[in-house]
Amino acid sequence: MIAIIDYKAGNLTSVARAVSHIGVECVVTGDAKTILNAERIIFPGVGAAGSAMESLKSLGLDKVIASAYAQGKPILGICLGTQIIMAYSEENDTPCLGIIAGKTRAFSKQMPDEDRRFLKIPQMGWNRICVKAGHPVLSGLNPEDEFYFVHGYYPSPDHAADIIAETEYGILFPSVIGVNNIIAMQFHPEKSGRPGLRILKNFCEWRPC
């Protein structure tokens, strides 16, 4: 059973639907006991870091995620979930979970673009990832696969070893990060067609050592 953490940050049903589609049982829940009893955890999210951290704390889920991580449970972060596992987010000047050392940075609003003066922010649409360090959750992907991104912020780990894949949008930014039993991506695998479903399936079979 997979627990999809419900902290009132939207977009959870689409993750649940994608996981059900690949034939894995899941539950959308904010209940500490259910989360700690689950085999693995998905930590999604859409919205702003400030209000997300507030509701995580008010539900006591910040501690639940930290203990699930300490227990060695496989955890998958998606989009805002990925940004919140960093120590700090520039969005709303928010102290975050600190599972991965580093911070979540804002894209500069003045990244030059050949089409227009500046690149549009948020990045909205399909982009590639360049895998730097092979990872079981990214196995079986084609280098030309693209993934659906919607974001104005990106995770920036302190340690280069925590960067699993990068994506180019004005700058090269970390789009998949991870350490030990956590892997987190800035894009939405649940909305990225077949390669996205492949990542979810890989995650469901992942046994971190």
Partner: protein, 259 residues
Amino acid sequence: MLSKRIIPCLDVREGKTTKGIKFKGNVDIGDPVDMARIYYEAGADEIVFYDITASHEKRGIMIDVVRRVAETIFIPFSVGGGIRTVEDMREVLLAGAEKVSVNSAAVKHPEIISQGAKAFGNQCIVLGMDVKHVGKSEKIPSGYEIVINGGRTYMGIDALEWAIRAQELGAGEICLNSIDADGTREGYELTLTALISQNVSIPVIASGGAGKPEHLADVLTQGKADAALIASMVHYGTYTISGIKSYLDERKIKVRKIT
């Protein structure tokens, strides 16, 4: 580098996909869930649904379509048509849509944009704009005016000013439809599209007038659009999504390949 998005648009009336020309006369062309699945498998980057069901009582049918689409395709899709309140937005988003689009309701009550953005995030809120070329005047400095009711009602609002205002209110994307080009299959309104796209910092989807792959190439280059909406080109089987994408790829326009 970000790919340009190709987005089929399905008009849905009482649960059936329909196609009309210049808002006159509609014919049923299939089941929206089946069509969405076919386009998803063929490489569509996103899908747009417009609910053109006239009666408010029958809106439940659309919510059921949204739910079934969400169980079938795993790419983003948006739903517009008849969205008047934050509650309408919530219903569509909970049923599984990624984004909602507001058009005439936002013209009449712009605060729906900020309310929606606050409740669900900017990225969820698409501003649909129906625009007509009217020539430059003091009131309409860009020469393009916002219209509603399928182009029948002129609102006295400048299209460019409205786009900028909607962005400030929290719209995350603009779907820009030229009423003049819509249904003609003679190409997108390039001047209008470039004008809006170059003056906002959010993505712009061009809509209205697509008839052949060259039109998409034009609007994605000269028109500076981030995405192109297509309808009859693919609904009647004249072109396929993969054929359009190969054409754009040959023209060195970056599109997502189906791998």
